[in-house]
Amino acid sequence: MNEVARKPIGRFVPLIVFAALVAFFVIGLVWNQTHDARFVPSPLIDKPAPEFRLPRLEQPTQFVTKADLLGKPYLINVFASWCFACGDEHPTLMAYRDKFGLPLIGYDYKDAPQDARAWLDRHGNPYHEVITDQSGDTAINFGVYGAPETYLIDAEGVIRYKHIGPLTPDVIAKELEPKIRALEQAGT
């Protein structure tokens, strides 16, 4: 019968379907292992940073605005004294503050100024400037949803890179440093 010639291939159809299902599950598992669902890509990358006007931690009557910082690239690091992961990140910032080659601005997020001051006194201050956002309203315009977060902003005030979670030497070497070098290349 000519049926016999056709049948062997038909027999493998369930196996092929099963293998396809297994492949989907494996892809899903691996993807979940390698991607942290908490880290959502920011839609603000390559967009102008939001306008802000925030008081300095040390002189609360003085304000720092976005316009004040235009002209050269800078880093903004969102931190808070209540933020546990910020403590993990802190030694890295101390070690790298002078290696970035650009100003590192501390953004004290939803924090009492005296708590932030005490925290920086105790651990050391890695920042060239610290601004405070007690209400957290400005932070929403930056898309902040969990400290620590780090932004690289270029001389024109455009957000070039954002990292959510603690900066590590690995992240700095693989992601942040190349972005900073790229800005330097473009600037010269």
Binding site: E3, G10, R38, V40, P43, D137, I140, F142, G143, Y145
Partner: protein, 144 residues
């Protein structure tokens, strides 16, 4: 006895209604605005605790965004304007109802396509089986 039962029921109903508004006391203009607020925030994701809506979450982040959404409503902003404002800051990830976009095509059409393919397979198999009675017996014996 009957009166006691009514008192208990009324007390219970009051307790329940109090719980429903316990999250934060926002001064809504009227019930319609409150309903609109609850409907809107139920469709939005709390970015910090991602399996909760902005309406349900007690996280600081959710409280703050609820306050901002409330303020925007008082300014007469539409639901769409509020959602656009949020998406500009937190990406479409904040929407529980994902918009149709190139990155969500598989999400929107994947299931119907797979269902359709499965349906076609079933129809083809049934057709083949019901043709002549002789083949049916063979198919049953050989394939399954």
């Amino acid at each position: 006895m009957k009166r006691l039962l009514i008192v208990i029921l009324v007390a219970f109903a009051l307790a329940l209604s109090a719980a429903a508004f316990a999250i934060d006391p926002l001064p809504f203009k009227d019930n319609a605005q409150r309903d609109r607020f609850q409907h809107l925030t139920r469709e939005l994701r709390c970015m910090v605790c991602q399996d909760e809506s902005l309406l349900a979450s007690n996280a600081d982040f959710a409280k703050q965004l609820r306050r901002q959404i409330f303020d925007m409503m008082q300014q007469g902003k539409s639901d769409k304007e509020i959602k656009d404002w949020l998406v500009a800051r937190y990406s479409t990830f904040i929407l529980y109802d994902p918009p149709l976009a190139p990155s969500t095509i598989a999400l929107w059409f994947g299931t119907p396509v797979i269902l359709l393919a499965g349906g076609i397979v079933v129809v083809v198999l049934l057709r083949r089986r019901t043709r002549p009675a002789r083949t049916l017996a063979e198919d049953l014996g050989d394939d399954w």
